[in-house]
Symmetry: C2
Subunit: 256 residues, 2 copies
């Protein structure tokens, strides 16, 4: 018996899934991956993920690991990727890289850094090409002010104001290493794409979406920087802005 | 009676449509737009388009015009855009700009320049986020060689080699003003997005897709620049490469 641990990197469109975690009677990313692995090797193999994503949230570089006993047959990363993808199609979930890794590797506990992106498209008319892939926001936004305010959230804080009530983390204290807000032209008639990029070792449940929703108050001019600081210091979810919709959020990269 | 001519700019995802032109029993972009206008004003109003697009082809900036008798009621571009969009939803077709224009304006005949983009995503694993929005190509491409070769097609030529047999243009002679091929990183594991941008006053039927399909032979190293020149000079569709799939093509902009 030869058990090999594998690390796989995944892309997925979360729109039609109830999130990463396996649930009864609703499709999940975890179930799709585990089912595809079972179809490939005829074994039921549990998969461990770097970070669970919520319903509707997307991934560009989710990571998971699992242990596979493939006997003495040859198997490399490319072959495993192709085999799992064959069984994932036509679902919008794709293995983009697979590699054998030492048996001590743990997708969740060994993650040193995560990069999330959040996309807002600001314009009056509804979205065609990016429907379900970004938050469509109609009112004008001061993106420079949002970026400036975002810097106030960097560092080690009690992020209770940006923490979902169902968050299971032991502590609300996290260190935020980066939160950049940039914009680019989206269409020829003033449409703007606003891109949030944030990095840190770990995040609370809904933390990114709650930070985005709160920074929109700055962008709309409803809040000043002092209001953001007061909200953070209130350590109270009720003091923050709305939770930005799941459809704009991407787990972009996990670093080890 | 006050007839006003309107110019509208459209975005659409062509995937589930038989193309621009109205046909019996299959959904078309033209029918969707004309039906939405009828629902708004209770009149059957024909719409004239800058350039018809084929089944599955997308638009970021298609342009059309139509004449509307709205009596003495006030109507501005923003209001017209909102009204048509209200009736277009939930289809992936959206008016992104609407403006009153003088009655001599003609969306097709007055077009001075068109910009098309074609997207190829080159990597082994299938696409999740851009499925139906780009040509998924698995083999490696030399993008610099493609760009260099593309410059040989600039200028005034007989483009019969890149012309669909069903093309209804009077002449195969066209002037190509720009054909740039660039690339950018698509994912963290070597995936590359290749973007073709081409401009000219007008194009033959399938010209862009046939030029793209032929330049892929250069990218794969199957052809040298001399082969491309020979194909152009052959003035024979059979001398060119394949027609690139519709799903990668976008009518990006029409200039007047």
């Amino acid at each position: 018996m030869t058990i090999q641990r594998w690390k796989i990197t995944l892309e997925y469109r979360g729109t039609d899934y109830a999130g990463w975690q396996r649930q009864i009677d609703v499709p999940s990313i975890q179930q799709a991956i585990e089912d595809a692995i079972t179809k490939f090797c005829q074994q039921e193999i549990p998969v461990t993920v770097a970070g669970r994503t919520d319903a509707g949230v997307h991934a560009l570089g989710q990571v998971c690991h699992f242990d596979l006993d493939y006997g003495d047959r040859p198997l490399d990363g490319y072959g495993l990727m192709k085999a799992i993808n064959y069984h994932l199609l036509p679902q919008p979930i794709s293995v983009i890289y697979a590699e054998p890794i030492d048996n001590e590797f743990h997708a969740r506990f060994d993650a040193l850094n995560k990069l999330y992106r959040y996309h807002v498209i600001q314009r009056p008319s509804f979205l065609c090409h990016d429907r379900g892939a970004a938050w469509h926001f109609k009112r004008a936004l001061d993106v420079e002010a949002m970026h400036e305010a975002a810097q106030l959230l960097l560092g080690k804080h009690d992020f209770t104001t940006f923490r979902d009530s169902e968050c299971q983390a032991n502590s609300p204290i996290k260190t935020l290493d980066r939160l950049d807000v940039t914009k680019r032209e989206y269409d020829a008639y003033g449409g703007v794409e606003v891109i949030f990029e944030t990095e840190g070792r770990s995040f609370l449940h809904h933390q990114v979406r709650n930070m985005v929703g709160t920074l929109m108050l700055i962008g709309e001019g409803k809040w000043k920087n002092g209001d953001l600081i007061a909200a953070l210091e209130a350590k109270n979810r009720g003091a923050g802005g709305v939770t930005a919709p799941a459809e704009g959020l991407y787990l972009a990269r996990v670093d080890y």
